[in-house]
């Protein structure tokens, strides 16, 4: 019966095209791997034999992991929770320490030879059903208190297996991927990532670019329409997903894949040439770094600094703040592999949404507890990170950068913490770079307005364009609904960047751009014209932007930028840049 149905389906499969946003370049074709993280559902084959001892170990591990997660959230968020939430939180922990529940689950696994996932789910379902029989609304609503803990345990039971089950030659299709989910995939060679939600600057997009995997995001409800036996083309250039392509479509894409690979090869020819414009102006081009598997690329390129080392991945991988020693080991690994290149380490830029429990989520996490705010609140964590960076700075090639700075007080407080770390290390007779450079991310409009005041207290500026656009324009970078309003060439954005660049020049400090704009050919053309000293781009864009730099005439770019400062609409700026871009660079592929 099943077979007949499958045959029937193959015959009726039509090509369908879904439009999303191009989040990471590249084209590939393959089968989907449908990943549903928010609602754990794991379809066991009922006929398969269950290894009870293995199931019990898995269950115990999932409970341990859930306890660890909740305890971590609890210890981090304690002071941010109100009494009511604290008590509910405490009650959720009681479930994880309910030995009678665990005993019953394990006993049933053994006796009924059912998988842990199913047994645990059934036990919680029984409780939910019991609560539902109550005539009292309040008692019935207690189901919501249990929901979070149930999903957490189920997720932990499923997660390890899901990832080990992923076929490397597949395109991950999901409703949404959290940074933690994406990192789970980062060790696998995936063909692509397609998500229903998210914008081109959401974390999944950034991570896909750094891993050089094609990605399309914001495809509405694509994941609902994909079946495991479909065949997909992912076009990360145009932001298209093609389900069950016709033979003609497949062959035209094969042709394009070939063209792009020829282009990629041509880039390697300029690999070791200097970063210099066509008219002889030397510029600095560096990369953003997140994963250790990108180190080799950087080490292979002469003069390629790390303009932004993101440290959040350590937190996301460990599910907790890494210890000072673990951080030191990681930073030292970078120093040992990349010296004499300079490496700018950004202190943890974590959102409160990763730390606060479900019941206490902020309505606007981007306006909430994140970045330097968390660093300054969690003094021990911050001090540990600063100590680790200092200890690894013995070859004098590290710099420190603070994220989300919005006032001079924050800069002074952060520098005070750095001073404490230095005093501690001196008294411990540990070597470090006494003159380590300290800079800030300029990514909040308040920092733009205060740029002159901040510049007097720091050694460099780095403009984080993703957040700067989002905060200047009040447009959520993850929202696909308002993604048309997320305009990097909005005159307010361009003038803000110009303000920061001019302020840096006045105060004799270097200014770099480390956001996505630096890796965008049109935008980087403009940024160079505006006098930015350094562009820091994703490793996947490095050679493209290098090629662009070498084609640009610096003096012409200066003139174009000057003209653009007088323009007052995004349309005008866009048209002007593309006109000159085409004039100087031509319609070469980027």
């Amino acid at each position: 019966m099943k077979k007949v149905l499958a045959n029937f389906k193959v015959k009726t499969k039509r090509e369908e095209i879904y439009k999303g946003l191009p989040a990471s370049k590249g084209i590939s074709m393959g089968k989907p791997f449908i990943y549903r993280a928010e609602l754990p559902s794991y379809n066991y084959n009922n006929d398969a034999k269950i290894a009870a001892t293995e199931e019990i170990t898995d269950y115990e591990e999932a409970i341990q992991k859930s306890r660890k997660e909740l305890n971590k959230i609890f210890s981090l968020a304690k002071e941010k929770l109100d009494d009511k939430n604290l008590q509910i939180f405490d009650a959720q922990l009681s479930f994880l320490y309910d030995d009678f529940l665990h005993g019953k689950v394990k006993q049933r696994i053994k006796e009924e030879e059912k998988p842990a996932y199913q047994v645990f789910n059934e036990e919680i379902k029984n409780l939910e059903n019991a609560l539902l029989t109550s005539k009292d609304d309040y008692i019935r609503e207690r189901i919501s208190d249990i929901e979070d803990i149930k999903n957490r345990v189920l997720r932990n039971l499923v997660k390890g297996r899901l990832v080990s089950k992923i076929d490397e030659n597949s395109i991950v299709v999901a409703r949404n991927l959290t940074p933690a989910d994406t990192i789970l995939f980062s060790n696998r060679k995936l063909l692509g990532i397609a998500t229903d939600l998210g914008g081109v600057n959401s974390h999944v997009a950034i991570i896909a670019r750094s891993l050089n995997i094609p990605a399309v995001v914001g495809i509405k409800d694509f994941s609902i329409h994909v079946q495991p036996d479909d065949f997909l083309v992912i076009d990360g250039y145009k932001g298209l997903m093609i389900k069950n392509p016709s033979n003609d479509t497949v062959s035209s894409y094969e042709k394009r894949i070939n063209e792009y690979s020829i282009f990629e090869k041509s880039l390697t020819e300029i690999e070791n040439l200097p970063n210099i414009t066509a008219d002889g102006k030397e510029l600095r081009l560096s990369t953003n770094l997140e994963f250790n598997n990108e180190i080799d690329f950087i080490a292979a390129h002469i003069g390629c600094d790390v303009g932004l080392y993101r440290t959040e991945h350590m937190f996301l991988e460990a599910g907790d703040f890494p210890s000072e020693q673990d951080q030191f080991t990681q930073y030292k690994l970078l120093v040992d592999h990349l010296h004499p290149r300079s490496i700018t380490i950004r202190t943890f830029d974590i959102g409160g949404d990763k730390l606060l429990p479900e019941t206490q989520k902020e309505a606007n996490p981007f306006l909430g507890w994140r970045g330097i705010r968390i660093c300054l609140d969690k003094r021990d964590v911050f001090l540990g990170q600063l100590r680790a960076i200092l200890r690894a700075s013995y070859k004098n090639n590290l710099k420190i950068m603070f994220p989300l700075i919005n006032s001079l007080e924050e800069v002074l407080k952060a520098k005070e913490m750095l001073e404490i770390a230095k005093i501690q290390l001196r008294s411990e007779k540990t070597n470090f770079d006494e003159k380590i450079k300290v800079g800030i991310m300029v990514e909040v409009p308040s920092a733009v307005i205060l740029a002159d005041d901040l510049a007097r207290h720091v050694d460099f500026f780095s403009i984080g364009t993703n957040d700067l656009v989002q905060y200047t324009l009040a447009v959520d970078r993850d929202s696909s609904i308002v993604s048309n309003l997320y305009q990097k060439f909005h005159p307010a954005v361009i003038r803000s960047i110009n303000t920061v660049v001019e302020s840096a020049k006045r105060n004799n400090i270097p200014v770099s751009v480390c956001g996505e704009m630096a890796g965008d050919p049109y935008a980087s053309f403009l940024l160079i014209g505006m006098g930015v000293d350094e562009l820091s781009v994703e490793t996947a864009s490095y050679l493209r932007i290098k090629r662009l730099m070498r084609l640009i005439n610096y003096n012409e770019a200066r003139k174009v930028a000057e003209e653009i400062m007088t323009m007052d609409t995004e349309n005008e700026i866009n048209a002007y840049i593309s006109h000159f871009f085409n004039k100087y660079i031509g319609d070469k592929i980027f």
Partner: protein, 92 residues
């Protein structure tokens, strides 16, 4: 064995928060502790058990204690039930 009859007197009933505190109080004592409602008998040291009783305002329960410190356990837990889980203030 000690048996005590109690009534749920707080309006919110035996919800998540009191359930977790009952478990904690019971865990302090060596005695076994069971709660019986409408013929269901559950282990009072298990939060999932307690919550599955879905005991709302006005429910009648029997608490059973058995063990070396059953008197003390009975005294402490019965008191907690009778005080409406500390939720009586402000209620009518």
């Amino acid at each position: 064995m000690v048996r005590k009859k109690v009534k749920i007197v707080n309006h919110a009933g035996m919800h998540t928060r009191p359930a977790s505190i009952i478990v904690k109080l019971a865990a302090k004592h060596k005695s076994d502790f069971y709660i019986i409602k409408d013929g269901y008998r559950i282990n009072g040291k298990s939060i999932i058990g307690i919550m599955s009783l879905a005991a709302e305002y006005g429910s009648e329960l029997i608490l059973e204690f058995e063990g070396s410190d059953e008197q003390k356990a009975a005294e402490e837990l019965t008191k907690y039930f009778e005080e409406g889980f500390g939720e009586l203030q402000g209620e009518d």
